[in-house]
Amino acid sequence: MTSYRLDRGGAINRAQALTFTFDGRSYKGFQGDTLASALLANDQMLMGRSFKYHRPRGPVTAGSAEPNALMTIGSGPRAEPNARATMVELHQGLVASSQNRWPSLRYDIGAVNSLLSPFLGAGFYYKTFMWPAAFWEKIYEPLIRRAAGLGKLVLEADPDRYEKAWAHCDLLVVGAGPAGLMAALVAGRAGLRVILADESLSAGGSLLSENVSVGGMRAADFARTLAEELASLPNVTLMARTTVFGWYDDMVFGAVERVQKHVASPSPELPVERLWRIAAKRAILATGAEERPLVFGGNDRPGVMTATAARSYLNRYGVAIGGKVAIFTNGGSGYRTAADLTACGVEVTAVIDARPQSIDVAPAGIRVIRNAGVIGTKGRHRIEGLLLDRSGFEEVVGCDALAMSGGWSPIVHLMCQRGEKPVWSEEKQSFLAPDVGPAFTPVGSAAGLQTVSDCLRDGAARAMAMSAALGFAAHAAEIPDVEGEYDAAFAPVWYVPGAKDKAFVDFQNDVAVADLGIAQREGFRHIEHTKRYTTAGMATDQGKLGNVNTSGIVAAMRGVSPAEIGTTTFRPFYTPVSFGALAGVARGEHAAPSRISPLHGWAKKNGASFVEAGLWYRSAWFARDGEKTWRESVDREVATVRAHAGLCDVSTLGKIEIFGAGAAEFLDRVYCNGFLRLPVGKARYGLMLREDGIVFDDGTTSRLGDNHYVMTTTTAYAAEVMSHLELCAQTFWPELDVRFVSVSDQWAQMSLAGPKARLIMSRVVQDDLSDAAFPFLAARAVTLRGGLKARLFRISFSGELAYELAVPAGYGEAVADAIMEAGREDGVCAYGVEALNVLRIEKGFVTHNELDGRTTADDVGLGRMMAMQKPDFIGKRLSTRFGLTAADRLQMVGLKPVEPHKEIHAGAHLLKDQAKPSLANDQGYVSSACFSPTLGSFIALAMLKSGRERIGERIVVWDALRGAEVPVDVCSPVFVDPETVKLHL
C-alpha cells in the first residue's frame, strides 16, 4: 500500500460510496472526491502517459492547472477527452479511460520513444525529418501524430444541450478562496449586486485544503459559514462550478458553468454547460496562487507532486499520497506539508531544503537536509526513492511519494488578457498582476500575499474601496483570528543542477530544461520564440505550472533577471472550453435555419424537387409521372409556359416597401436609370451600381402611390440591398424624407407566365386585366374574386405575357391552388427555378451569373439604361473611367453550338477558332448555359472580349474540367422573340 485513504478526515461524505471504473477496472470512492483523489485512495498513482516520450505520469496537482492526469470521461457520443482527473467530480458509474497509450497504461509500446529521446528534443521535427520532402506528409507526420498526443475526438454528435446567457453585476469576484469570500461578503452586505464565481463545487478555495482554524472554526467550516451568509443575500449570486476564462473589452467576462458535468445521467431539461457573458462594473481577481514545481532530474515520476496537492489530498479528501513521503522544498510550504502528514500518521522520510538555512522548523523527529538538491528519482510506475546531492555527496533516500514546493506564482492570467504584461517583483520573486486601472484589481494571494489572515484582510479592504467607488457605503468587516498559519516565504530555485534524468519544465508537452538550452543556443532566445521552438506552454494546460519556471530558467541561463525575459502572451481561454458551450444553441437548424417560402406547401404537393439557395429552399422542377430526368421535367415546363401558361414561386425575391416625400428622388439616386417620372401604378426595371461603377443588383420597383413604392431585389442580395439603401439614406442624404421596411417574408409572390396568363389570371382577379386597362408594366392593388386585396404586377422574366401576383403570405398557398385550378383546362403547369432559368437565358435576361461583381451595365448590354443626364447617382462618377469603358471589355453575347446537341457548361472559357488554350488567348467565359427546348439546341450566355462586334464569328468553348471543346457561333443574347411581341399581347 502506497497511497491510501485515511480512516478519518476530509470534506468527503463517507456515508455515500460511489462506484466508478478506470480502464475497465472497478473502484470505489466517496461523494466529494475528485476522480484523482478517488484513484489515489485506491493506490492508483499512474494516471497517464506523456505527450511525446510516453513516460508514465501521475497527478502533479489537485486542481485546475493539472498537466498530467488527463483522461477521457464517459463513453460513446458523450466521451470527453483530455479532462483533468483533478477537476472531475466523482459520480456513481463514472467511466474513465487513460489516453495516449497502447496496449495499456502499464505496458505502453510508445515508451520506446524515451530511448529515441536524443532525436526527439526541441525542434526535432524541423531537423530529423527534413528529407525526402515528400515523406513529410505521407510518412513522418502521420507517424508522429499517431505516436504523440492527447485524447481522441469523438466523431458522433453530442447528445447534450448547451446554452448561453448574460449576467450583469456591480462586482464580479473571481475565486471564492479566503480573499474572494471576504470581498464578496463586504460588498454583498453593502448592497452591491455581486457575482462570486468559483471553479469548484463548493466555495472555500485554499480554506478547504489548509489545516488552520479561522474565527475558532476549522477553515472549511468557516468557508461554509461565509458561503451560507452570501447565499442568504438576495443581491449576491454564487456561481459554483463556474470558470471565468476570459476578460474582454468593456468589463465583459466570459465564464463557463458546468451545470451537469458531475451527474451520472444529465437531465434533458437542463444544459450540461452554460456559457456566461458577465458584464461587471468592477471586478476582483481572487484566483489565488499556483505552487511552482521544482525542476530537477526525474521530477515527472508518478508520486512527485506539489506540496499543496499533497496537503489538498490529505486535508480535503482524506487521502495520503504515500506511505513514506519525502519533501523537497525551498520554503515554508514543504514544512507545513511535513507537519500535516505527520499529524495524520503518515511517515515523512526527509525534508530536503534547497536553502542553506531557514527559520522553518520540521516536526520533531523528522530529518531535515539543508542546502541539498534532488538530482534523480527511482522507480518506474511510481517513485521508489530519490537521489540527493549535497556538495557532491550523493545519497539515496527511500520514499514512495515526493511533495515539492518551488514557491508561489500568483494566478494573474485574466488581468493579462487584454495586452498588459505581468510585472516581475524582485521582492516577491514572482510575476504580479499589472495595473489595469481601478475597475479590476487583484486581492489576496493573487496579489502576492501569503497568509490566510492577510488574504481575508485584503479581500475586505479592496471590496470596501470598490463599494465606495460605486457609491455604496460599506462597513468594515471584522477580520476573524486565524490560528495555525505558516510562513509561506521562499527563496527561488529555478533549476536544481546535476540532474541525472530529464528535468521537466513543461510536463504536458514533455519539455525539459535541456530543450530550453537548445532553443537559446540555436537563436530562439526571445521567450515567445523559445515557447514556439520547444512547445513549452503550448498544450491544453497552456503552461499554468511551467511557464513561470520557463521564464526563470531562461533568465538564469542568460544570467539576467526574469524581469528582462518576461512571460509569453496570456490569452483567453484560461482553461479549455468545449465547442458545445461556445456553440450554445446554435447547432444544426438553429445555426443555419431553413427559409421556407409561403408557397412551399403548394410546391410540395405539386411534386417539386427543391434546391438550396442560401438559407432558402426553392422549387427547382416539378417531376411528373414518367419523367426520368430533371431535364425532361424542365423541358416540359418551358414548353408549357411558351405554349400555354405556368405558375412559378418567386416569393424568395427581396421586397422592400419605400415611403416618403423624398422616395422618388432617393430611388433616382440609388438606381442608375431614371425613377423621378415613374407614374403611380407602374413598374420599372432598375439597375443599381456600386460606387465603383460595377453593377450591384437589379430588380423592379413599382410606384403604388405618390410617396409609396415597393422594390424587389434578387433573392441573394435582399439583405445587402436593404443595408445599402439604409446607408445611402442615413449617411449620404439624411435630408431626404424616406423610410424603408423589408417585407420579403410578408408576401407570397407568384409569377403566372405564358400566352394564356391573362385568361387564367382573369378568373382569379376581379379587376379588368385587358391590355388597355392593365398594360405591360402596370402595377397596382387588385381584388381577388374572393375579396382578398392583392398586388398585381405585369412584369415578365420569361418574355411571355406574365403577371406577378403578391398576396399576404398566409394566403399564398390557397391563391396558388386557385390559380392552378383556374388554369387546369388551359394546361397550366407549375414550373421551378430551373425552367425559370431556361426561359430567361432564351430571352437574354441577366442574373447574378452575369452580374458577378465584375461587369458594368454596358458589359451586359444595359449601358443605355444609365441616365447620364442625372446630376448624380451611386456609381455614376466612376462608371465613366477608362477601365470601365474600354472597347476590349468582355461583353455579353449568346452562343449556339454548331452541333445543337453538344452541351456547353457555365464556367467554360472561350477561345478563338484554332487558338491554343492559354491565358493570353483567353477570350472570356460562359456565364449561363442550358438546353433550350424552344430552339431544340443547347444555348449559352457568355462574356466575350469585344463581344457585340463579333456576332456571327465561330469560336470554341473550351472546358478543361470536362475535357470538351465545342465549336459555337456567337449570336445575339436574345434567342426567342427578339421583337418582344409576346410581352404586349
Partner: protein, 93 residues
Amino acid sequence: MASLITCPHCGTRPKEEFSIRGAAAPRRPSAGDRDEVWYAYVYVRDNPKGLTQEYWHHAAGCRRFLVVERDTLTHEVFGVTDAAALTRKEAAE
C-alpha cells in the same frame, strides 16, 4: 474591439448585433469632383493606430447607421452617434 456598444436609440447592446461598415470619416464627393478625390473616396483608407471613426450598422437592432469613435489600440470607445444626426449637424454648421 468593444464588447458592448451604447446605441443612442437602443441602449447598451452586445457587439454581435452590429455590422461594421467601414470608415466613417470619408465624405462622399460630389459628382463634379476630380478623379483623384473619387479615387481616394472609393479605394483609399487609413489604417490608423489610435483614434478612428467607423460606421456600425445596428443590423439586429434599430437598423440605424451609427458613427462609433474608438481607439484601435486600447479599444476604448469615446462616443456613439447617429450617423444621420451627425451629417445633418455637419450640414448645419
